[in-house]
């Protein structure tokens, strides 16, 4: 390229002046939100900065300084937040900020003093931006503004984008379970009127190469659906007159969703209802049909097919073989950017189907005992939070007149229950080491016996009973009549609601597992005989949320088991603040997601399942969010401490 001398001159001058600015720019571009900001905005930021040094223990900003005048970015080192500890005296470290992170956003946006003294924990360099420049950037740059306003939440969004981006890279598609159904249903739906002869309707289906036809009235409201499966029935039943109206053969009042529902909603509906087509209806008019092929056109193993195969499996061996397919399905869903909540939901659904089918097969084999019973599950299964890596926690509930009658029924049910336990173990549900299984006589009880047992838990809060309540009180029916279980749950809620002492003990119990975020280091980790330091995502990350949500839910008469659902209802009942609830939910979600990704990784590398993770193996962003998520668990625990004066 030929450059005039004057051009070359200005060019050289510009790059020369920018050398150090450029270096700082590149440094900042390693971190959000700077990596998303426009270059010009970022260059403006850097040019307006001052670089300051702080020796260990030196105060950077403190409440007494008055309204915050600067925005800080850590270039090197570590900054800790110290707040005076009201109860114990002294101070407590509330957060740590390291390279690439910024502070104090809330105080700066609120135009107030910081509530926490920020101290350098080691030799620390910070880029300091004056408030005027901060305001200008806030107005100019939307990534910067989003980041400042949303703090950790916007980080979580980025992780989700990252996950999906990775999926797009490997699968070459934008497909996601969050896709609107309206976007998936490309084709115009094939429809006919109720009086259309069968032959004509089938011809229409054949011509249009579709598996279903929707029967509509004059206003285009769906009256019924006729699918290839229905056609099989028609043929199998020996109907010879194909001039009959389709009305007589269609499935009436077909299930429908709106175009705004997600692909996930449709997948769940298909799995639950064993249907292969979902009508899309807007303003009572049919506007589309989504088939399971549309949903899973990219997946070899499909969810609906899997659910149906499980429910109709003729032999135990078929069920055993299916476990591997569930694993593949989960892997594919993770790759497609499904959230941990969606995945645990689907695993729970498929597991429920498997359990039901195992019970049905055992009953068919051993003969019906002639006594109605319900199959209960507890713990994570009860909360619908199962991952692939799962233990059996189950029991049996039946109705009996008295103790003698109960013992008699127990005698009949126990052999069946034991067989079910063994068969479930073959299907991949590990036998429970604590023998919390329906085949155990102590867990095959009549409603009165269960009620007595639960009442004892609440009355005498021994450590064993507290542990028991944390498992059994998340009970749910997988198979059989649900009414007995409802009554038991109501009994628990009534008793716990009245018993402040028991609530307090449970709260104390919920503090056993402390999230490993520490005063002086990012993570405080267990190091076992020279191995790499790791943290337990389940015990140290999820359990604090699960236990905390349970105490609060039981104490406030909330009858749902799922941890996230409990948080939502606690917010609705104004037991916890909306913002806190959202933060807990996000944090729980993220830890669970990290845990599942670990599990998938372990499967791929043929390693045994483990909930332990080495934070150093995570990327920078994930590590930072994991740390913030664990801090939310810490906050939940301190709110319990306060509420129950522990």
């Amino acid at each position: 390229m030929v450059m005039s001398k004057a051009d070359a001159f200005t060019q050289a001058g510009k790059t020369a002046v920018l050398q150090n600015i450029q270096g700082t720019l590149q440094f900042l571009q390693r971190f959000p939100p700077f990596n998303q900001m426009e270059n010009a905005h970022l260059a403006y930021l850097v040019e307006q900065c001052q670089l300051r040094f702080y020796a260990p223990g030196e105060s950077i900003i403190k409440p007494a300084d008055g309204p915050v005048e600067h925005f800080y970015i850590v270039k090197q080192g570590r900054v800790v937040g110290e707040r005076p500890h009201t109860a114990k005296g002294g101070t407590e470290t509330t957060f740590e900020i390291t390279t690439g992170e910024c502070f104090p956003l809330a105080a700066l946006l609120g135009e107030r003093a910081t509530r926490t003294e920020h101290l350098a924990a080691e030799d620390t360099f910070c880029l300091q931006l004056n408030k005027l420049a901060f305001i200008k950037l806030f107005a100019l740059s939307s990534p910067f503004r989003d980041f400042a306003l949303r703090g950790v939440s916007s980080l979580l969004d980025q992780v989700n984008q990252q996950v999906q981006q990775k999926a797009v890279e490997t699968l070459g598609t934008q497909y996601s379970l969050n896709t609107r159904l309206g976007e998936l249903a490309m084709r115009h739906p094939v429809t006919c009127s109720p009086i259309t002869p069968l032959r004509e309707a089938v011809t229409l289906m054949h011509d249009q190469q579709v598996g279903s036809i929707v029967v509509v009235d004059e206003q285009k409201a769906p009256l019924g659906i006729f699918t290839l499966r229905d056609l099989r029935h028609v043929v199998a039943n020996g109907t010879s007159d194909f001039n009959e109206a389709i009305e007589g053969h269609m499935t009436r009042a077909p299930f429908y969703l709106t175009p705004d529902h997600s692909a996930f909603d449709a997948a769940i509906a298909m799995t639950e209802r064993h249907i292969a087509h979902v009508c899309l209806v807007k303003d009572q008019r049919l506007c589309g049909v989504v088939s399971e092929r549309d949903l899973f056109s990219l997946q070899r193993v499909d969810l609906v097919h899997l659910a149906r195969t499980i429910r109709s499996a003729q032999k135990l061996e078929n069920l055993v073989a299916m476990r591997g397919e569930i694993g593949q399905l989960v892997e594919r869903m993770l790759a497609h950017g499904a959230s941990s909540t969606q995945i645990t939901h689907i695993i729970t659904l498929l597991n429920d189907h498997t359990v039901c089918r195992v019970i049905e097969l055992v009953l068919a084999e051993k003969g019906d005992p002639g006594v109605p019973f319900s199959w209960l599950c507890f713990g994570s299964e009860g909360r619908r939070e199962q991952t692939l890596h799962t233990d059996q926690d189950n029991g049996i509930l039946f109705e009996a007149r008295d103790a003698a009658h109960a013992a008699e029924i127990r005698g009949k049910l126990l052999p069946i229950a034991q067989q079910i336990n063994q068969n479930l173990a073959l299907c991949g549900f590990t036998l429970c080491k604590g023998n919390i299984m329906a085949g155990n006589p102590e867990l095959c009880l009549s409603r009165a016996e269960w009620a007595r047992r639960f009442a004892a838990f609440i009355r005498e809060a021994t450590p064993e009973n507290l542990l028991g309540s944390s498992i059994y009180f998340d009970l749910r029916v997988v198979w059989g009549d649900e009414r007995g279980c409802e009554q038991l749950r109501q009994g628990i809620l009534d008793q716990v609601g009245d018993n402040r002492l028991f609530q307090r003990m449970m709260a104390e119990n919920a503090l056993r597992n402390r999230p490993p975020v520490g005063r002086f280091r990012e993570f405080v980790l267990a190091r076992k005989n020279g191995e790499k330091a790791t943290l337990d995502l389940k015990l140290q990350g999820l359990t604090p949320f699960v236990d905390g949500a349970r105490v609060l839910a039981l104490a406030h008469g909330i009858d749902t088991n799922n941890t996230l659902e409990r948080f939502r209802q606690l917010v609705d009942k104004e037991v916890i603040e909306r913002l806190d609830g959202a933060a807990y939910e996000e944090a729980y979600h993220f830890i669970q997601q990290t845990r599942m990704q670990q599990h998938q990784l372990q499967t791929r590398e043929n390693l045994p399942y483990s909930n332990r993770v080495d934070p150093d193996s995570l990327n920078h962003l994930d590590r930072r969010i994991l740390r913030e998520s664990l801090r939310q668990a810490q906050r939940l625990q301190s709110s319990l401490t306060l509420r129950y004066q522990l």
């Binding site: 070359a8 001159f9 050289a12 001058g13 020369a16 002046v17 050398q19 150090n20 600015i21 270096g23 700082t24 590149q26 440094f27 850097v46 040019e47 307006q48 900065c49 001052q50 670089l51 300051r52 040094f53 702080y54 020796a55 030196e58 270039k75 090197q76 390279t99 030799d123 360099f125 300091q128």
Partner: protein, 235 residues
């Protein structure tokens, strides 16, 4: 014309505008009793054709400013000087400036004047300051007929004075950067070196305050004591 004018060295003849600006440069102040933080400092790094104090030439200037105790990113200076008679020598490998970059550089008189305006009356800090002081002084004399009188403090002296526990013999900038575990950006030009030196200075000033050195004057005095003691024969 003065009778003795032929005795003086020949001053370069400058265009009127440059001459006026040269005359407006502030008078140089001695180091004072203000606090280290109140003093504005210029941290300097030069690139030259080599290490020979009399023969080698100035190629580029990089400088940053420490003001109010912090490195101010809005005040930075970097110029490559145009240098026509330069032969391509092995030093290209050291300074990394190609002949084309040097040919495209600024007019030396212009650039040096802009630099002195940038410095103002501030004292100068540099790693191995006597070298920079000499090379800059020679260039200023040659191109502007200007006598450099600014106080220079050597960071290579300040560091061991304040950190006697670091047992270095003749440590370079890299050794000190490692010692303080400084994470610096890639350094391949004068201004990146100036920035790294300035970050080192921020740490050293923090140490100085801990050691009851509060003013620039104070620092200068402690430095000369330290140097005298080092040069005194030990028994």
């Amino acid at each position: 014309m003065s009778l003795f004018s032929w005795l003086r060295p020949v001053n370069p003849i400058l265009p009127g505008e440059l001459q006026q600006r040269l005359e407006r440069l502030p008078a140089v102040a001695e180091l004072g009793d203000c606090s280290l933080r109140e003093q504005r400092w210029v941290v300097l790094d030069l690139e030259t054709t080599g290490l020979n104090l009399n023969k080698d030439r100035l190629l580029s200037i990089g400088a940053v400013v420490i003001e109010d105790g912090a490195i101010d990113f809005s005040q930075q200076f970097e110029r490559t000087l145009q240098c026509t008679e330069l032969k391509l020598g092995p030093s290209v490998l050291i300074h990394g400036l190609g002949p084309s970059a040097i040919a495209a550089g600024s007019d030396p008189a212009q650039a040096l004047l802009e630099f002195m305006e940038f410095v103002g009356d501030s004292p100068v800090l540099a790693f191995h300051a006597p070298f920079d002081q000499h090379m800059l002084g020679r260039a200023l004399k040659e191109h502007l007929g200007y006598k450099l009188q600014h106080p220079f403090l050597d960071v290579a002296d300040i560091a061991p004075l304040l950190c006697p526990q670091a047992h270095f013999r003749e440590a370079g900038l890299d050794e000190w950067i490692d010692w303080f575990k400084l994470e610096v950006f890639e350094r391949h030009n004068a201004s990146a070196d100036a920035l790294a030196t300035a970050e080192l200075v921020l740490i050293l000033f923090s140490r100085a305050r801990q050691q009851q050195i509060h003013s620039p004057l104070n620092l200068q005095q402690r430095l000369s004591q330290w140097k005298r003691r080092r040069q005194a024969p030990s028994f």
